[in-house]
């Protein structure tokens, strides 16, 4: 390059208006945790501090995005300046934003908890932070990407970091759980990737928006959708492919369990919803009904399994299996009710994230306190560890779907979608799941009042760990009061509107 050209360029740099910079802000939710992970990896001693600062920065970033998107509507960013189909596009609408916000808030809670949780174990602590920050990177990248292949890479980062975090607990159960989780996750990813291969070779693009415009009901489309959906369903642990979830989620360390149940499964679910919303206009067709039936199966089977568990963490993990089922009820219910059913499912996803994180963290406190998580031997924790028990119960209120809580709003919207179109069956499943959830939640609460046969020596639980669990549970309940704002957020860019493209009739 000639010197004069360089000077000209530098001059232009100084006078450039900041449009590129502004647009690139959209990449910050990915870059912030990524940089945090790199620093935490290099500077091991400072890992925890770096992690907490990163989470605060991430929350600030996402909060910054909210007014921007509320004002300017959905935003895109052609990373590298190329744009689809050559380049990779990022895109943020209300749906992505809600998921980003959920990740940042729950992530901050889990981080604060983890800071106390790992304090006595520097080796685990140093290993935890880079993996955890990479997990957040993957989630945010997943929520922002519009490119199916790029999404494959984010899915892999998500899966591998989740597996490594699960194994972090050590011990045979956690390792075996992690191993099974890894195999399942890899299998899911490959099925998804094969689907993408078919889509690319049929339509010469992997960009969701372009695909939506080009796609037609060719055999390749259906095969690809089937492969991708199967892979994602496996990763989301929808009944009957949920077998891997309870052992993994129950055997991990408390903050990891919380992250897995609250956030990680939402990643693949989000992607599935995106693909369906963009590529297939969900009508009341067989596939949607099929997904709904699996969801209903998950609600009932997961709840019943939760009910018969004798270990608290397994109970909570099966509760996750059941709650995942609710998210899939939106597929059949979306026909004719559109935004109502999807808002309901997404509202459930958000409140489940808060509530389930609170539950697992509270369970972690009980585990540390008593040294075990046998439900029948909880031994009067209701007065000995009231804050954690309150966290569990409040989170339970949201999981059950009692008013006022985020879970109630989600179930109300789903129920409204079901009943306004006269689909009683789905409505009955929604109600039944709530009653079963009440039974298993209060099974735990009941034993928290009684005395165990063999009283045990109790360990101290740091106050931070108790307060974080409590705060998340309160947030899950408060989500039931502040309904207008989250719903307004979800509206940005109209993600649930019927798209022009797609294969709908």
């Amino acid at each position: 390059m000639e010197p004069s050209a360089l000077v000209r360029e530098l001059f232009a740099w100084a006078h450039a208006d900041a449009a590129g910079l502004m647009a690139s802000v959209l990449a910050l939710p990915v870059l912030v945790p990524l940089l945090g992970a790199l620093f935490a990896f290099v500077m091991r001693r400072w890992a925890a501090a770096i992690g907490l600062v990163t989470l605060l920065a991430l929350l600030a970033t996402v909060l910054l995005l909210i007014p921007w998107l509320l004002g300017a509507g959905a935003q895109g960013l052609a990373v590298g300046g190329w744009g689809a189909p050559l380049g990779v596009d990022l895109y943020a609408d209300g749906l992505s934003l809600a998921m980003l916000l959920m990740t940042a808030v729950v992530g901050l809670g889990i981080s604060l908890y983890a800071h106390s949780y790992f304090r006595a174990d520097p080796i685990r602590e140093q290993a935890f932070w880079p993996l955890w920050l990479l997990l957040l990177t993957a989630l945010n990248a997943l929520f922002l990407s519009r490119d199916l292949f790029n999404l494959y890479v984010t899915l892999e980062i998500l899966g591998l970091s989740a597996v490594a975090l699960t194994a972090l607990a050590g011990g045979a159960k956690a390792l075996v759980g992690a191993m099974r989780y890894l195999l399942v996750s890899l299998l899911g990813s490959l099925a998804y990737l094969l689907g993408i291969a078919l889509l690319y070779h049929a339509y010469a693009t992997v960009d969701l928006a372009l695909l939506a415009a080009r796609i037609d009901a060719a055999p390749a489309t259906w095969a690809a959708l089937a492969l991708m959906s199967a892979g994602l369903i496996l990763k989301t642990a929808l009944f009957p492919l949920h077998f891997w979830l309870p052992p993994a989620h129950a055997s991990a360390a408390a903050p990891v369990s919380a992250a897995l149940s609250a956030l990680v499964i939402k990643g693949s679910y989000y992607l599935l919803v995106r693909i369906w919303l963009e590529l297939v206009q969900v009508q009341s067709d067989g596939v949607a009904t099929f997904l709904g039936l699996l969801g209903a199966g998950a609600v009932l089977w997961g709840s019943i399994q939760a009910l018969v568990q004798t270990r608290l963490k397994l109970l909570i993990a099966y509760s996750t299996v059941a709650q995942i089922g609710y998210l899939f009820l939106a597929f059949p219910l979306a026909a004719g009710t559109g935004g109502l059913a999807w808002s309901g499912a997404l509202y459930l996803a958000l409140s489940h994230a808060l509530a389930k994180a609170a539950m697992f963290l509270a369970a972690g406190n009980l585990l540390r306190f008593g040294g075990h998580d046998r439900i029948a031997d909880l031994d009067r924790v209701v007065q000995r560890l009231p804050l954690s028990m309150a966290a569990f119960a409040l989170a339970g209120v949201s999981i059950i779907g009692l008013p006022p809580s985020g879970g109630f709003i989600g179930k109300w919207l789903l129920l409204e979608a079901a009943l306004s179109t006269g689909r009683w069956g789905w409505g009955i499943v929604i109600m039944l799941g709530g009653v079963l959830a009440a039974t298993y939640v209060f099974k735990v609460v009941g034993f928290a009042f009684t005395q165990a046969e063999h009283p045990h020596q109790a360990q101290r639980v740091p106050a931070t760990m108790e307060w974080v669990a409590f705060a998340l549970a309160v947030a899950a309940v408060l989500l039931g009061f502040l309904v207008a704002q989250p719903l307004m957020l979800l509206e940005i860019g109209d993600p649930f509107a019927a798209h022009v493209g797609g294969m709908g009739p």
Binding site: E156, L160, V163, A172, V176, L186, L194, H201
Partner: protein, 102 residues
């Protein structure tokens, strides 16, 4: 039967064979190998079908995707092997117990 189709069908075959091993084989190393065979199958489909350009030259985009895919697969395999060693150390067996009895 163009070469592209033959590659793709071979890839599919590998995918299915690997899947069989991943599901049915008990030994973890075989499962991990099954995953690798599956992966190779997918890459073969991805790259193979990229040869259907009118000019006959390969489409570079799937090739780049395959490179990315391979690196991801290598990374995943490394983690899987490492985890397997830990599982063997912890349980004394290189196979997964029945999820309902552990």
């Amino acid at each position: 039967m163009t070469p592209a189709i033959i590659y793709a069908l071979t890839g599919l075959g590998l995918f299915v064979l690997g899947l069989y091993a991943l599901i049915m084989r008990a030994h973890l190393l075989r499962k991990i190998l099954g995953f690798n065979v599956m992966g190779s199958g997918v890459f073969l489909v991805l790259a193979g079908l990229g040869q259907r350009t009118p000019m006959g030259g390969p489409d570079p985009v799937p090739q780049a995707m395959v490179i990315t895919g391979i690196v991801v697969a290598v990374a995943a395999t490394a983690l899987a092997l490492s985890l397997m060693l830990r599982v063997v150390a912890a349980t004394g067996r290189a196979r997964l117990p029945d999820p309902h009895h552990d």
